[in-house]
Symmetry: C2
Subunit: 344 residues, 2 copies
DNA sequence: TTGTAAGCGTTATCAT
DNA sequence: ATGATAACGCTTACAA
């Protein structure tokens, strides 16, 4: 059987015995069309199973109705939740979402910028997540609208949707100090990342409020991945029980999970011998033993808002591009924090 | 500042003082161009920061260099892993991946088919995952190439990448029976799904081999979600300890996790009082207490292969479209299985 | 080796 | 209310 050519508007026009423009008017609801003729067109569309060619539309309209979503990985559930939020907002507007996962093995920024410049993407929701230099984002931003999620660049105020990491970190740390911990260590995120800085600042504020010397608190720098959590926990807990930290403040759940795994392997009981807190509230965190005390980020909502902000940027006049305030990060009290074995 | 129009090939041609086609030849490596002129073109491209308009290309080439990935949700890590595999294969070919997450609240099949027909997508990798009628997929398939993942439609042999669920299920169940369990219950997946059927069949084979009457084994039908696992576990374990099952065969990890949560809440110790197995080997499963005995599906690889198969379908002649054999599913022995408290 | 010109399938402007 | 017709930016015969 010969595979038939897909019908074009021309075919529809001929079938309905009207002109090309009439078909276009009907399809887009622009321009007036006599009821009888519009029915003929609609019929033809149905009969021929016509559907408009997206590439031609994009070319003519100068808009792809597609946005990009840059995430470092999908298996991190936080990113997955953000992605679902983005997808939901886009779907409501009949906009496609292209998944961009920068290959770790290459310099991805140039490729992304090219992609954005190629007009196949109208804009980008960007979640650097791990590492990635701020300057690269600035470069990207020259090619088209970019909205940052879970990230911010202090000097330049790019649109960004973040939550109040500093406050969340401060509160969860306060909870730890209120249990009487005095020797704590921080397992932080990549120091280039805004979230890592904010969380560290939050921890320090809480420590200061608890009367500790913040300079005395060891800060081990991880990369937000589970493995680094395990490795750094091992490092932090190397000393004898009497001198090592009684609590670990982990800048995200993944590293807290790594730390917890280390403790299990090393026979350190949590929370009896060591208290542990994370950040993100991944779905898994409530399933661990002990259930992890952490800070919830409204991931889905963040993604949704970021996409919404991007759309506002793309069609000015619709709504003010503002409104990307700071979302709340809420402490989830669970079982991984207890008073230190030896108070003081 | 006035925002400057993006450069087109025409601009490049003028800047380089060559014709349009010469630029095209250089950019696509088609047609011979004198070294000196090619440099002029490349220079112009750099100076003007030109990058080709993707929509125009797609229109002319009749190919969007974009595929769709249909997944029910991203927060399920199995799907996320598949997605990463798809993304990786696509990225290697400079093909974009559009994320399609069917909204549960509407009939998505028609929308997807329209999308595929609109030529914005060259093909689709389809993971129904939960529910979704096979017939809908057949309909979709009329609009363009579709490769199924983790799913199969018995009658019609659509290209599909699956792993050997039946064998995996049989082996993990055998492991349970070898511990001496006689009273077991199955928490199965949606009966319309191939994977659910296969796993159930595997469990039954193992039961038969262990000398049990397969008709005696209660099968509770879940939906592959955590909540249904919890609910069905409660139902299965409602009886007194002497008569209720001593082991639960769960058709996926999510339901096993739900079952485990129920047991914790109900004070049933796993594996001492109840053995539990899952299927999928989600990253979280090894972090649970007890660590979940389950069957690993090579999710990433499945996604990668599915995408690869789709590309083969799209450019015939490159490689034979075959090769989507059945991948192995391997049992992961961990801590959630133990002999029943009261043997026999 | 280089250039001209005819589409690709839409949308939008302008007459009618 | 309807219909020619000119773009949109690119690829590709075909001509030179």
């Amino acid at each position: 059987m010969a595979t038939r050519r897909r019908p074009t508007m021309k075919d529809v026009a001929e079938h309905a015995r009207v002109s090309l423009s009439t078909v276009s008017y009907v399809l887009n609801g622009t321009g007036p069309v006599a009821p009888e003729r519009r029915d003929r067109v609609l019929d033809a569309v149905r009969v021929l199973e016509y559907s408009p060619n997206g590439s031609a539309r994009s070319l003519k309209r100068r808009r792809a109705s597609t946005i990009g979503l840059v995430v470092p990985e999908l298996t991190n559930q936080f990113f997955a939740m953000v992605a679902e939020g983005v997808q939901k907002a886009a779907s409501a507007r009949d906009v496609l979402v292209v998944l961009v996962v920068p290959d770790a093995t290459e310099q991805p920024e140039e490729k992304q910028a090219t992609l954005l410049r190629s007009q196949r993407l109208d804009g980008v929701v960007y979640l650097s997540g791990t590492g990635s230099l701020p300057t690269a984002i600035l470069e990207l931003q020259r090619s088209g609208p970019v909205v940052l999620v879970d990230e911010q660049i202090p000097g330049f105020d790019l649109p960004a949707v973040v939550c109040d990491s500093r406050r969340g970190a401060r509160e969860v740390a306060r909870h730890v100090f209120e249990h009487g911990h005095r020797r704590v260590a921080v397992i932080g995120g990549p120091s280039a990342l805004w979230t890592a800085q904010q969380r560290l600042a939050g921890y320090r504020e809480a420590a200061a409020a608890a009367g500790l010397d913040t300079d005395e608190i060891p800060v081990l720098v991880g990369d937000y991945r589970q493995e680094s959590g395990a490795r750094l926990a091992a490092q932090a807990l190397a000393g004898p029980p009497g001198t090592r930290p009684t609590a670990l403040l982990c800048a995200n759940d993944l590293m807290a999970i790594g730390a917890l795994e280390h403790c299990k392997a090393a026979g350190i009981r949590v929370p009896q011998e060591l208290s542990l807190v994370g950040f993100d509230d991944l779905p898994v965190s409530g399933l661990l033993t002990p259930r992890l005390t952490t800070v919830r980020q409204p991931a889905h909502d963040m993604g949704f808002r970021a996409a919404t902000a991007l759309f506002d940027l793309l069609e000015p006049g619709d709504a003010p591009p503002g409104g990307l305030g700071m979302l709340p990060a809420t402490v989830q009290l669970r079982d991984s924090v207890a008073p230190p074995a030896v108070p003081g």
